[in-house]
Amino acid sequence: MAKVLVVDDSSSMRQMVSFALKQAGHDVTEGRDGNDGLSKAQGLKADLVITDVNMPGKDGLELTRELRKLPDYKFTPILVLTTEAGPEKKQEGKAAGATGWLVKPFDPEKLMSTVNKVLR
C-alpha cells in the first residue's frame, strides 16, 4: 500500500486522518508541524502528503513549496487540509504547488475517496 505522510499540529486531527488511512492499509508517517513534516518527508519518499495549512512555525503552504523543491516530491500528490472553502485559499494552495485540497470538516469516507482520487 501507499506511504502517506500526514502533517498536522493538532494531534486529534492527525490521529484521525492516520487512523482512517491505516484502516485502508496505508503506511502512515506523522509530522507534528511544518518543520517536522519536512524532515520526516526527507528520506521517506512518500506516495502522498496530506498537510494542514494553519500551523505554527512553517505552515502547510510553505511546507508544500519546500517539498516541491525536493526531487522526490516534484510530482508527489500533496493535499492540503483547510477549513477555508473560499476560492482564494484554494488558489493559494495551488500556487504553492498543492495537488488539491480537503476541506474540513470532513468525514473518513470523504477523506478516503479523495485520497483514492490521487493514489493509484
Partner: protein, 695 residues
C-alpha cells in the same frame, strides 16, 4: 467503509481546552495592532472550528465561526482591537469552554449566553458579513464545487445512452502540482464507460526546448452513463484553473431538461440553511459523545521529547540485558574464567541499576506537567476581579514551567483560585486607600512555583493590608479553638485561619471571607499530602506557602528500624533526628515519656507498643529519636537505627486489605520485603488518644 472516530474525540477536546487557554492568555496580553498575537489567537479558534466540525460538534463549530471571522478581520486590520472587543472575545472563550465541557461531560451548555455572545459578535461584524456562514455549516464536503449546483444528468428519460464529451487541455504546469491526467481518467472510468482520444498536436516539433516536466497533450474523452456533470467537475476540481475544460452532453442525448432523476436530492447533503442553529443537532450528536465520555484524568498529552527519551532508555536497557546474557554464556562456556567475568558482571549490574533508575525517573516524569496549566487561568481571573472590584492589580507569575504530578495539578486549581481570589478581594486595598497609605495604587499579587527538595512549593503573595492577628486570636477564642489562657506565638495565631471553626465565623470583620473556605483549602492540600502555611504583616501583605509532594505515588522516605522491623517515614515530615540527653528525658505520670527539645515537650512514641507488636519498654536515658511533625503536631519516634533515605513507591493496603491506622500504606524495598509507611499525623492522633486514656 464506516469508521468510528469517537475514539479521537477525547484528544480533540483536550487539545481544544488547551487552545482555549492559549486564546485566553493571548487575549489578555493583546495590544492593538499586535498582529502576531492575533495570528496565534486566530489559529487557535480556527483549529477548534475545524476539529469541532469534523467530530460532529456543529454547535461549537458554528459558534467559533463568528469568532474566527472577527479575528480574521482584526488581524487584517479591518476591525479595530478595542478593550470591548477583547472582553467580547473573552466571553466567547467562556462560552466555548462551556460548550466543550458539555461535549465532554454530556451536559448542556448555556444556550442563552451562547446566543447572546454570538449575536454580539455578529452585530460587531455588522451586516457586511457576507461569508459568515458558508463552510462552517456544511455538514460534509460535497461535490458541489464553487456554486455549480447539482445538475441533471445528460440524456432524456427514454433510456437512450447518455453521456458527456469532455475536452481537456492541461496547461503546461499541471503536472507540477502532482496532478496526473491518467489518474483522473481512472476516476472517470469509475463513473461510466470511457473512451479517450489523445491529441498530441501540442507536442513541440523538435526536442529543442522540450520540457519533460511540462504537459503538452490534450484529450477528448467520452463518458457514457448517467454520471452527473457535478461528478465530472469534481474530478477536475483541483485543476480547473490549470486547464481548458469543456463538458458538454453527448450529441446523441436529446433534450436534457426534463430528466431530473427523481430520487436524487442534492448530493452534497443539506444546504447551509437547513442546519438548525444549536439545539437539534447537538441532541443528535449526544449519544456518540456520551459513549466516549472521558473522565477528567483518563488521558493526558505527553511531550514527545519525553517519549523519545524513554525509547532511548529502553534501548540502553536492551543493550545491558544482552551484555548480561553474554556474560552468563561465557561463564557457562569457560568456568575457569569466572573470576574475570564477575568483574564484568558487576559493572553490568551497575549499568542495569543506572538504566532502571533513569527509566523509573523518566516514567514518573511522564506524569509531570508544568504548573503553567493551572497558573494560566489567573490572568483572566485577575482581569475580571479587578474590573469588578475597581482595584488595580499587577499579577506576576514566576516558575510556571515547574513540573508537578498531573493528579496533584488537577486538584490544585480550586485551592489556588480560592487563595488568589482572597488576596485580591481582601488583601489588596482600593487604589485611594493604597495611595493614602503611601503605597503604589496598583497592588501586586505574585504566584510563584519552585522545586525544593522533593517538593513543589507554591507561594501566593500580595502586598495588601495583611492580616490582623489580634482579630484572628479573638475569633479563635470565640470559636473555642484555644483556651483563654493559651497565648500562641503571632505566627501560630495566623494558622488558625485554616481551622473550620473560624471559617463559619461571621463575615463582617476585615478578615471576613479570608476564613471562609480556608479550612477546605487546607483539607484539599493535605489530601494531596502537602501542607500550607500563612505569613502576614499588617500593612505589608500576606504570603501563603503551599508545599506539595512532586508526585503522589513516589515519595522521598527515610528508612528506619524499630524492633527489627523496617519502616519508612516521609522525609517531609521529619523535623530532626537526635540522640537523647538524659536530663531532657521526662516521664509524665511516671509512664508517659516526654522529651524536652529546646522549649518544647514532645511526646515520645514507643512505636512497637503503640502498634501492639511489643510490650511497652521503658525509655532509656540514651535513645535515638526522630522528631516528626504533621498537622502542627509533633511526635518523637524512638527508633533503633536510622537506615538510608530513598524514594519509595507508595502502595495502598486497601487494595487487598483495608486502611490501617498509623500507616499511610506500604512499599516494597529493594530486597522484596514489604515496609510500612508511617502516617505521622495518624501516629500523633493515636498517641494523644493513648494519653487521654492514660490520664
Amino acid at each position: 467503509m464506516s469508521m468510528d472516530m469517537s475514539q479521537f474525540t477525547e484528544a480533540f477536546l483536550e487539545e481544544s481546552f488547551e487552545g482555549l487557554e492559549h486564546m485566553e492568555t493571548e487575549l489578555l496580553a493583546l495590544n492593538a495592532g499586535d498582529e502576531e498575537t492575533l495570528h496565534t489567537i486566530f489559529r487557535a479558534a480556527h483549529s477548534i472550528k475545524g476539529g469541532a466540525g469534523t467530530f460532529g460538534f456543529s454547535a461549537i463549530s458554528e459558534f467559533t465561526h463568528g469568532m474566527e471571522t472577527l479575528l480574521d478581520r482584526m488581524r487584517n486590520g479591518q476591525q479595530e482591537t478595542t478593550p470591548e472587543i477583547v472582553n467580547l472575545l473573552l466571553r466567547a472563550v467562556d462560552v466555548l469552554r462551556g460548550q466543550l465541557q458539555a461535549a465532554r461531560d454530556g451536559g448542556e451548555a448555556d444556550p442563552a449566553e451562547a446566543a447572546e455572545v454570538r449575536a454580539l459578535i455578529e452585530a460587531t461584524l455588522g451586516d457586511a458579513a457576507p461569508d459568515a456562514t458558508p463552510d462552517a455549516l456544511a455538514p460534509t464536503v460535497g461535490g458541489n464545487v464553487d456554486g455549480s449546483g447539482p445538475e441533471n444528468g445528460p440524456g432524456d428519460s427514454d433510456g437512450t445512452p447518455r453521456g458527456w464529451r469532455i475536452h481537456f487541455r492541461p496547461h503546461a504546469d499541471l503536472l507540477r502540482t502532482g496532478n496526473d491526467p491518467l489518474r483522473m481518467f481512472e476516476v472517470l472510468e469509475e463513473l461510466g464507460e470511457l473512451t479517450v482520444h489523445c491529441d498530441a498536436e501540442g507536442l513541440p516539433a523538435t526536442l529543442e526546448g522540450y520540457d519533460p516536466e511540462a504537459s503538452y497533450l490534450a484529450w477528448t474523452l467520452e463518458l457514457r452513463g448517467d454520471a452527473d456533470r457535478a461528478d465530472i467537475e469534481e474530478v477536475f476540481e483541483w485543476v480547473e484553473d490549470e486547464c481548458d475544460l469543456t463538458i458538454e452532453p453527448l450529441e446523441t442525448a436529446g433534450d436534457s431538461t426534463g430528466a431530473h432523476p427523481p430520487a436524487d436530492p442534492a448530493p452534497d447533503g443539506s444546504g447551509p440553511e437547513s442546519t438548525p442553529p444549536g439545539g437539534e443537532d447537538s441532541a443528535a450528536g449526544a449519544p456518540a459523545r456520551a459513549a466516549s465520555k472521558p473522565t477528567e484524568s483518563s488521558s493526558m498529552r505527553v511531550n514527545a521529547a519525553k517519549i523519545d527519551a524513554l525509547i532511548d532508555m529502553v534501548g540502553e536497557l536492551v543493550i545491558t540485558q544482552s551484555m548480561l546474557t553474554d556474560i552468563s554464556e561465557q561463564m557457562e562456556e569457560d568456568p575457569s574464567r569466572v573470576e574475570q567475568q564477575i568483574e564484568r558482571l558487576r559493572s553490568g549490574l551497575a549499568e542495569l541499576e543506572r538504566n532502571t533508575r533513569e527509566l523509573q525517573e523518566s516514567v514518573m516524569g511522564i506524569r509531570m506537567v508544568p504548573i503553567a496549566q493551572v497558573f494560566n487561568r489567573f490572568p483572566r481571573l485577575v482581569h475580571d476581579l479587578s474590573g469588578q472590584l475597581g482595584k488595580q492589580i499587577d499579577l506576576q507569575m514566576e516558575g510556571e514551567l515547574t513540573e508537578i504530578d498531573k493528579t496533584v495539578l488537577e486538584h490544585l486549581g480550586d485551592p489556588l483560585v480560592h487563595l488568589v481570589r482572597n488576596a485580591i478581594d481582601h488583601g489588596i486595598e482600593m487604589p485611594d486607600e493604597r495611595s493614602a497609605a503611601g503605597k503604589d495604587p496598583t497592588g501586586r499579587v505574585t504566584l510563584e512555583a519552585y522545586h525544593r527538595g522533593g517538593n513543589v512549593v507554591i507561594e501566593i503573595r500580595d502586598d495588601g493590608r495583611g492580616m490582623n492577628s489580634d482579630r484572628i486570636l479573638e475569633k479563635a477564642r470565640a470559636a473555642g479553638l484555644l483556651r483563654p489562657d493559651q497565648n500562641p506565638e503571632p505566627h501560630e495565631i495566623l494558622q488558625y485561619i485554616f481551622e473550620p471553626g473560624l471559617s463559619t465565623a461571621d463575615q463582617v470583620s476585615d478578615l471576613s471571607g479570608r476564613g471562609v473556605g480556608m479550612d477546605v483549602v487546607k483539607k484539599n492540600i493535605r489530601g494531596l499530602g502537602g501542607n500550607i502555611e500563612l505569613h502576614s504583616e499588617p500593612g505589608r501583605g500576606s504570603r501563603v506557602t503551599i508545599r506539595l509532594p512532586l508526585t503522589l505515588s513516589i515519595m522521598d522516605g527515610q528508612l528506619l528500624k524499630i524492633h527489627d522491623e523496617t519502616f519508612v517515614i516521609p522525609l517531609i515530615a521529619i523535623v530532626e533526628s537526635l540522640q537523647t540527653e538524659p536530663e531532657n528525658v521526662k516521664q509524665a505520670f511516671g509512664k508517659l515519656p516526654l522529651y524536652r527539645l529546646r522549649d518544647e515537650y514532645i511526646p515520645v512514641v514507643d512505636l512497637a507498643a503503640l502498634f501492639g507488636q511489643a510490650e511497652p519498654s521503658p525509655m532509656p536515658d540514651r535513645a535515638l529519636l526522630v522528631v516528626a511533625e504533621a498537622d502542627n503536631q509533633r511526635v518523637a519516634l524512638r527508633v533503633d537505627d536510622l537506615l538510608g533515605q530513598q524514594q519509595v513507591v507508595i502502595k495502598t493496603l486497601e487494595t487487598n486489605f483495608r486502611r490501617v491506622p498509623g500507616t499511610a500504606g506500604a512499599t516494597i524495598l529493594g530486597d522484596g520485603q514489604v515496609a510500612l509507611i508511617l502516617d505521622v499525623a495518624g501516629i500523633a492522633r493515636m498517641t494523644s488518644g493513648r494519653d487521654t486514656r492514660a490520664a
